[in-house]
């Protein structure tokens, strides 16, 4: 089995009439994803690539209950969109939108934590279970079904790694982009836990970057609970200290969150760490 989504997952697209929303709805449909509805206030009654559009999530839920929502709305209204989905009890919410004010995300996390739904992102590429379903914006042709679970804070860097895996003939159960923001709904630990518990996943790739403590916590978790082989990669070894590198999350302050700290944390628990992204394929291949 894949984690989180599979061929049966019914998907609702929040912001389906927008430029990105409609473009990726079409790509998801082409991949075989079961997109059942879209929501845009004021556009209820329209349709996008054959998908009916509703004014509110509650109306979309009444039409047919989705298993998963994917959010493409602008940053200024993204928190409200997620809160609407949480209130309607949609169990899995993938937020692609980037640039959401961080206090909006704290507000969202309070509701998410209280309700027990799962949020992935924001500012993430989404996820794909190759050959089954894709809920996100990653180029689908680079993926193939197989035994490796991939989890990453980055978007394009993940594509790089996945391409290398696929080129080496190593397929993926699920690839999850957890997002690059300072506060995110699903952590490395939670994703790795799901892969550990997934029967089909035989190896795990963790792609981190400087900033925060998510990779260190993940290393600790792996040391205690994960018996599947894990390969890691940390981006930003040569980033100068105290500079922001695009992601609000990628800030190095002192030793916490530095590339060295993260690489050591991984290596201490026996995780092989690749030096360049494309080396990951060979490392995981040796361990499977």
């Amino acid at each position: 089995m894949s984690i989180l989504i599979n061929e049966n997952t019914k998907v609702m697209v929040q912001g389906i009439t927008g430029n990105q929303g409609s473009f990726h709805t079409n790509l998801m449909q082409q991949y075989g994803t079961n997109v059942i509805s879209g929501v845009v206030p004021g556009k209820g009654g329209e349709s996008v690539f054959g998908v009916p559009v509703f004014d509110t999530v509650i109306q979309a839920v009444e039409f047919d209950r989705p298993d998963c929502a994917v959010v493409f709305v602008p940053a200024a209204v993204a928190a409200d969109a997620i809160l609407e989905e949480v209130a309607c009890g949609i169990p899995l919410i993938i937020c692609i939108t980037e640039g959401i004010p961080v206090l909006d995300v704290t507000r969202v996390m309070q509701a998410v934590n209280a309700s027990g739904v799962r949020l992935i992102g924001p500012n993430c590429p989404g996820l794909i279970s190759p050959g089954r379903s894709k809920v996100g914006i990653m180029p689908s042709h680079i993926h193939m079904p197989g035994p490796v679970g991939v989890v990453s804070r980055s978007g394009t860097l993940t594509y790089e790694v996945v391409q290398a895996l696929t080129d080496a003939g190593i397929g993926q159960t699920t690839c999850v982009g957890i997002g690059g923001d300072p506060i995110i709904g699903t952590s490395f630990v939670e994703a790795v836990k799901m892969f550990q518990e997934d029967d089909e996943t035989r190896g795990i790739v963790v792609i981190g970057e400087i900033g925060g403590e998510g990779e260190e916590q993940c290393a600790e978790y792996i040391g205690k609970y994960v018996d599947k082989p894990v390969v890691g990669f940390i981006s930003g070894r040569s980033a100068p200290a105290e500079k922001r590198m695009g992601h609000a999350g990628a800030i190095v302050s002192g030793s916490t969150g530095s590339a060295d700290a993260k690489i050591s944390a991984f290596e201490e628990v026996g995780v092989s760490v690749a030096r360049i992204p494309t080396d990951i394929a060979a490392l995981i291949s040796d361990l499977l």
Binding site: Q20, H24, L27, A75, A76, I96, E98, G99, I100, P101, V102, L103, D104, V105, T106, R107, M109, Q110, N113, P125, I137, M138, P139, I142, S152, R153, S154, G155, T156, L157, T158, Y159, E160, Q163, G180, P182, I183, I207, E209, I210, G212, F233, S235, G236, R237, S238, A239, P240, K243, R244, M245, G246, H247, G249, A250, G254, R275, I276, P277, T278
Partner: protein, 376 residues
């Protein structure tokens, strides 16, 4: 977006947090007249967007005109944390019977607002944080609720304040959290918050970082932006939705995605090259953004090679190709171009490039190797 102390203390005042009187001065003469206006011992403080001012000699107590003159003169000559001092803040000097550290910030691990407080406030708080983290109290706060009175009270008593001071502290701490929320700050720090000679709490120094993502809903804060925080190119980039940071090498980089951009820097260094910049055109960049990014890279005179590394997801390769081609049309400089372009709409992008006579790599490492070779 970082604020100067004098801007931060103005926001504190607006949220009813007491600060000593203060006047901003840009010259020695202005500093002296500020001293006379305040009419008592003053502190002369460098206004720079950097910590460590005290240790760098940027904060000086002055009791008379001569002392103010000499302090202002000296400080205006300093460079602190890479910033030359352009402005001073002259404030009333306060008698200090206790120095407290107090801040409200976004705790990324907890996904919530945190309030931190320590009775070991002052210049050495970083040292305290490293050596004795248990001396820094931390409380998490619900966004919607703000800081409950009882929680502020707990902190106040724990800081060793008496009941009258705790009441002042309660209001200061609650207002600090309210300020963080109202202006969308990621950090609001008072260090030190002092108890003065009469037993009252006052904020002596303040630091505020605002969340750039939220500035769209705070047009009134936009004029607090300090041009020295970023270079002209960084500002131009930001306005186009691009992250750009100048580095020291000669390979100009354009990448989509911060993680991939950082990885590219790592690979360049690994191959013996030196990147000239970090540049993330962002997710879903269109041809206009790509052209702007190209122009920013080209405006750096040290750039010898432009290395474009795009793995399209939400970004479409055809948009990137169009932007690159448009920018190339106006190049008047002798630079080499190395392109690596894969992902969404890859075929369309490659065919556009081919028409324009540009070849492209499919492997990042190959592209880096070529760029390093051309740059050396």
């Amino acid at each position: 977006m970082k604020l100067h102390e004098h801007q931060a203390r103005k926001l504190l005042s607006e949220f009813s947090i007491p600060v000593p009187r203060g006047i901003v001065a840009s010259s020695v003469d202005e500093a002296i007249s500020a001293f006379h206006e305040l009419g008592g011992p003053v502190v002369v403080k460098a206004q720079v967007l950097s910590g460590g001012r005290g240790k760098a000699g940027g904060v000086v107590l002055a009791n008379n005109e001569a002392a103010v003159e000499s302090a202002a003169k000296n400080i205006l000559r300093l460079e602190i944390g890479g910033y030359s001092v352009k402005r001073l803040l002259i404030t009333d000097a306060c008698e200090i019977s206790k120095e407290i550290y107090l801040s409200a910030l976004i705790d990324r691990n907890a996904g919530a607002i945190a309030v931190m407080a320590s009775s070991k406030g002052g210049m050495d708080i970083e040292e305290v944080a490293l050596q004795s983290p248990e001396l820094i109290m931390r409380r998490h706060v619900d966004y919607a609720t703000g800081l409950p009175q009882f929680m502020a009270r707990e902190l106040g008593f724990e800081l060793g304040l008496d009941w009258d001071q705790v009441k002042e502290f309660q209001s200061i701490a609650s207002n600090l959290v309210e300020l963080l929320k109202q202006v969308d700050a990621s950090l609001v720090e008072i260090n030190p918050l002092i108890v003065d000679g009469e037993g009252h709490c006052r904020a002596i120094d303040a630091k505020i970082d605002l969340d750039d993502n939220a500035m769209g809903r705070h047009p009134e804060l936009e004029n607090l932006r300090n041009p020295e925080e970023y270079t002209r190119e960084e500002i131009e980039a930001r306005n186009a939705g691009i992250s750009y940071i100048k580095l020291d090498g000669n390979i100009g980089c354009m990448v989509n995605g911060a993680g991939l951009a950082m990885a590219l820097l790592d690979v360049i260094k690994g191959e013996g090259g030196e990147p000239a910049n970090f540049l993330d055109v962002g997710g879903g960049a269109d041809s206009v953004q790509v052209r702007t990014a190209m122009n920013i890279i080209l405006s750096d005179p040290t750039v010898r090679v432009i290395l474009i590394n795009i793995f399209g997801g939400i970004t479409r390769c055809d948009e990137v190709a169009n932007g690159v081609i448009e920018a190339l049309g106006s190049i008047s400089k002798d630079v080499d171009l190395v392109v690596r372009l894969v992902g969404t709409n890859e075929d369309e992008g490659l065919s556009l490039l081919k028409t324009a006579g540009i070849s492209a790599h499919s492997s990042m490492v190959e592209a880096v190797k070529q760029a390093v070779e051309l740059a050396s």
